[in-house]
Amino acid sequence: MRTADLTTALILIAGGALVIWDALRLGIGWGSDGPQSGFFPFWLAVLLIGACAVIAMQAHRRTRDRPFVTRQQLRPVLTTLLPSAGFVVLTQFIGLYVATMLFMGFYMRWIGRYGWAPVVTVSVLFPLIIFVIFEKWFLVPMPKGPLEAWLGY
């Protein structure tokens, strides 16, 4: 917990420094029409760095601690996060519908250990439902890939 707290605070301080650098470029003073573009971000970042310094100090002083995440907890978190990240990568290249199908199929088969019949049924049906609701009824387009192009969408 302590390490995670310190790391987060330090990352935020670095982010704050980046904001200040950008704000100084834009000008933090008084322009011809009121405060310049950098004025608001500059003071926000100054406050952010100050507050994070206090958090870092609090964390540094703390002696009793519990782990940020136990090994037991980390496993299910990663088995959710990594396939989700894979799903986003796939969406980028082959569109949302096919990516959803592969994601659901993968998850049901390897995590849920389902037989092929329910895996195929659910993972094909669900993207189809999204397609009908969003693309057809409400005319909200989703990212599409080669398969949809081949089908003429």
Binding site: T8, F40, Q73, V77, P143
Partner: protein, 506 residues
């Protein structure tokens, strides 16, 4: 103002189309509230794109019904599964889950739904009475007053939010900084883009809501293993009737909790402290405080009444001032802007059918809602029995759909993933997420109000304290900001005494 306005509203809300939307909204909302990882805020966010082509009044009725549904759904998971879907449902689990374990799940659910209804109804009545007055006052507000209200909004997160006040401050600052990213509409300059074109569009808070609350919540809930274990409950008309007969006994708790809820709720972040406060008060004034935590029905009534009174009250500043009181209200506010309405006090003059339709739909929505959840609890509870390996990819995919639909842009799905990880880490480190979202929503408004105030005063921040209304609001805000420091000082001053007493004992 007057009853004719409310009647006009009912004419709108009772149109068959709008009633149908209310039923649809409550059904979807309850499902969303029951599902882990999906709550009111991101449910509304995901469905927002579907309303783009609707009439604004119908759209807001759909979304508020969704909101009520999500609030009802949260009670189901708290009581049957011991999983608080939202932070303000935590207190409901204290007595609700033990009741369900002892076979009184039906009573607990009936009490929870009925209390929710009473709490929300109380708030809606107060909104009907006060909203027009508040809007009338707000019409006289200038930029300093609006900035002062924003200060008050964020100070109440720090002073009343509980937890580490510095971490609340950091969340607020991050939200405001993210809101700055992109094109500065006043000067036309690009901020925080560092020459990267993709960053020009800035961060949309709807995507942030979906990531922080949706993906982040999923990651948190899987930590405890990849399954849920719940208690089943039998809810039939007889149980409902039996429970209803006992509820009037707790009229004091109802009234007290509704007031606490409304009073805490119209300030941001108020629902959670309201539910805990009202639980604590109920326990204190009870003749059997020892029964609390072991399955006392009053322990379900108190937090549920307060949380829903607060949930309703959170909509008051959104309609009258254009400043949302909760992340869900913030998403609805975003909807108003997308539908081409200007949120704020002028709405009462320019779009009375919209405002009063919305207020009337809160009445109809709650009546329909309580009837529906009482009737269909087994169906809603069955949703949580969907196996985890199906539910997880389903929720992630739905979140991705909602994120993409906001701007038809792929980068938003990446942001969603990023915000999901941030949400997980922040939640674990006790950084509150609601202030971050509100700051992201209000960033532009706050900055413009501050800019205009500074232009009026030629650069002096004192203008916030010199004008009577903004001065009073700012003074309260400063008090709230200082509250954590004051409390610390008081505690330190008291400590030596306690230590002295203890040393005498020893």
């Amino acid at each position: 103002m007057g009853w004719e306005n409310l009647l006009l509203g009912f004419e709108v809300a009772l149109q068959p189309m709008n009633l149908g939307l209310a039923v649809l909204g409550i059904t979807l909302g309850t499902i969303i509230g029951v599902l882990p990882g999906l709550g009111g805020a991101n449910g509304v966010a995901i469905l927002l794109p579907l309303t783009f082509s609707m009439h604004p009044t119908s759209a807001i009725i759909l979304l508020t019904s969704l909101y009520w549904g999500a609030l009802f759904g949260g009670a189901i998971t708290s009581i049957l599964f011991n999983i608080p879907g939202e932070p303000w449902s935590v207190a409901t689990t204290f007595d609700g889950y033990p009741m369900a374990r002892q076979g009184h799940g039906g009573e607990a659910l009936t009490a929870a739904f009925s209390s929710s209804f009473v709490g929300a109804f109380f708030s809606v009545v107060l909104i009907t009475l006060f909203a027009p007055l508040l809007a009338e006052i707000a019409l006289k507000f200038g930029p300093p007053e609006f900035f002062a209200i924003q200060l008050l909004t964020f100070s109440s997160f720090i002073g009343l939010g509980g937890g580490n006040p510095i971490k609340s401050l950091v969340s607020i600052l991050i939200g405001f900084i993210l809101a700055c990213a992109g094109l500065d509409i006043v000067t036309g300059q690009l901020r925080l883009t560092f020459g990267i074109t993709e960053l020009m569009k800035g961060f949309d808070f709807i995507v942030a809501v979906i990531g922080l609350f949706g993906i982040g919540e999923i990651l948190l809930s899987v930590e405890e293993g990849l399954s849920f274990r719940g208690v089943s409950a039998h809810l039939n008309p007889r149980v409902v009737w039996q429970t209803w007969k006992t509820l009037p006994r707790y009229y004091r708790t109802f009234i007290r909790s509704a007031f606490i809820g409304f009073w805490m709720g119209f300030k941001p972040g108020g629902a959670t402290p309201a539910s805990f406060m009202s639980y604590a008060f109920a326990k204190r004034f009870s003749r059997h405080p020892e029964r609390f935590g072991k399955g006392e029905i009053e322990g379900v009534v108190a937090p549920e009444t307060a949380a829903h009174a607060a949930g309703g009250a959170a909509l008051l500043p959104m309609i009258t001032l254009g400043i949302p009181g909760s992340p869900t209200a913030a998403v609805m506010l975003g909807g108003l802007i997308i539908w081409g309405l200007q949120p704020g006090p002028m709405l009462f003059r320019e779009k009375p059918d919209f405002v009063w339709g919305l207020i009337a739909s809160m009445y109809t929505g709650n009546v329909i809602g309580v009837a529906m959840v009482l009737a269909f609890v087994p169906f809603f509870a069955a949703i949580l029995r969907i196996p985890f390996p199906i539910l997880t990819p389903l929720i992630v995919a739905v979140c991705a759909v909602g994120s993409y639909a906001v701007h038809d842009s792929m980068i938003d799905i990446w942001y969603m993933l990023l915000f999901g990880v941030i949400g997980y880490v922040f939640k674990k480190l006790d950084y509150p997420l609601a202030p971050l979202v509100l700051a992201l929503v209000l960033g532009d408004l706050a900055e413009n109000a501050l800019r205009q105030s500074l232009i009026m005063s030629q650069g002096s921040l004192l203008i916030l304290f010199e004008r009577p209304i903004s001065g009073a609001i700012s003074a309260v805000a400063v008090l709230f900001f200082a509250l954590p420091l004051l409390q610390r000082y008081l505690r330190r001053a008291r400590k030596p005494e306690i230590a002295a007493v203890h040393s005498h004992d020893g």
